[in-house]
């Protein structure tokens, strides 16, 4: 990559991250289908990734903090890894749940109540 100026304010990326986070949150809170909730959760994770990216991008621009610029990216890397693990376990859970009740509507799973 060439070290030219990129005229995107880092705030824009953060705004995008915020919007995606809200969309994801609405999805998590308003869907009943377990898999859809999970998808929305992935969206929220990605919005967080985007926020990390934004800061990594900004720190890289200033000489004082340049040394830490990589950390943001490393973090995104780890988040992706964790998300992958989570997806594997989560989906396995849904399969197990489906076996039990023939549905993955989370409102039907409430045996832990009072």
């Amino acid at each position: 990559m060439n070290p030219t100026m990129i005229p995107i304010p880092s705030a824009w990326i953060l705004y995008l991250s915020a919007v995606l986070f809200v969309i994801g949150a609405i999805g998590v809170l308003l869907r009943r289908n377990g898999i859809s909730i999970f998808l929305a959760l992935e969206l929220m994770l990605n919005s967080a990734n985007l926020a990390f990216a934004s800061f990594a991008f900004r720190f890289a621009g200033a000489s004082a903090t340049a040394a830490h610029a990589l950390n943001g990216q490393i973090f995104i890397f780890f988040i992706i890894a964790v998300a992958a693990a989570e997806a594997a376990v989560g989906l396995a859970l849904f399969i197990a749940m489906y076996r039990r009740k023939e549905t993955i509507d989370v409102d039907r799973f409430n045996i832990l109540r009072w």
Binding site: M1, P3, M5, I6, I8, P9, S10, W12, I13, L14, Y15, L16, A18, V19, L20, F21, V22, I23, G24, A25, I26, G27, L29, L30, R31, R32, I35, L39, A40, E42, L43, N46, L50, A53, F57, A60, G61, A62, A66, A69, Q73, I74, F77, F78, I80, A81, A84, A85, A87, A88, V89, L91, A92, L93, F94, I95, A96, R99, I104, D107
Partner: protein, 166 residues
């Protein structure tokens, strides 16, 4: 040019993000999310984070979401709920809370972040080499722990998804 690419990708991500959570069909949800991930990968690329753009595509779009598709098809889920169906109070409060959090974050960004542009990451930036070196040196321990986590997730997923034998 870069700006336009970013704006386009952002618009794409928002539109398909909404689709990914709002559409009734899970298949459409997953496929919309694929588009979102592609858009994000594009943004990473624009910001000079080549490696991340690549794994975003490979791991997320390529592996995780395909896993979702497999599961949806395995369970044969056609269409389920509409957005916000079922509990009305939960839906209203959920939407309000989410938007309120978003609004708070937006306000926070607006007040705390300077609006001017920044320098792109230089050559030290986002290629596989510096990241790989950092993972093998500074972040070796977490890296190894992640491998442990993945193994645990693998085993856990196997155990959970296994048919119960009596």
């Amino acid at each position: 040019m870069v700006t336009y690419v970013f704006l386009a990708a952002a618009a794409l991500a928002i539109v398909f993000g909404i689709l990914a959570i709002a559409h009734r069909s899970p298949i459409i949800n997953v496929l919309s999310l694929v588009v979102v991930f592609f858009a994000l990968a594009a943004i990473y690329a624009v910001l000079g984070m080549d490696f991340l753009a690549a794994i975003q595509l490979i791991v997320y779009a390529g592996a995780v979401l395909v896993l979702f598709l497999f599961v949806i098809m395995l369970l044969n889920i056609r269409s389920v709920d509409r957005l916000g169906s079922g509990r009305r109070l939960q839906a209203i409060l959920g939407a309000l809370t989410s938007i309120a959090i978003g609004a708070a974050v937006v306000v926070a960004i607006a007040t705390l972040t300077p609006a001017q542009g920044a320098v792109a990451p230089g050559s030290q930036g986002g290629t596989a080499f510096p990241i790989g070196r950092s993972l093998m040196t500074t972040h070796l321990l977490p890296f190894e722990l992640v491998s442990l986590l993945l193994v645990a997730a693998l085993v856990g997923a196997l155990v959970l998804a296994r048919k119960e034998t009596r």
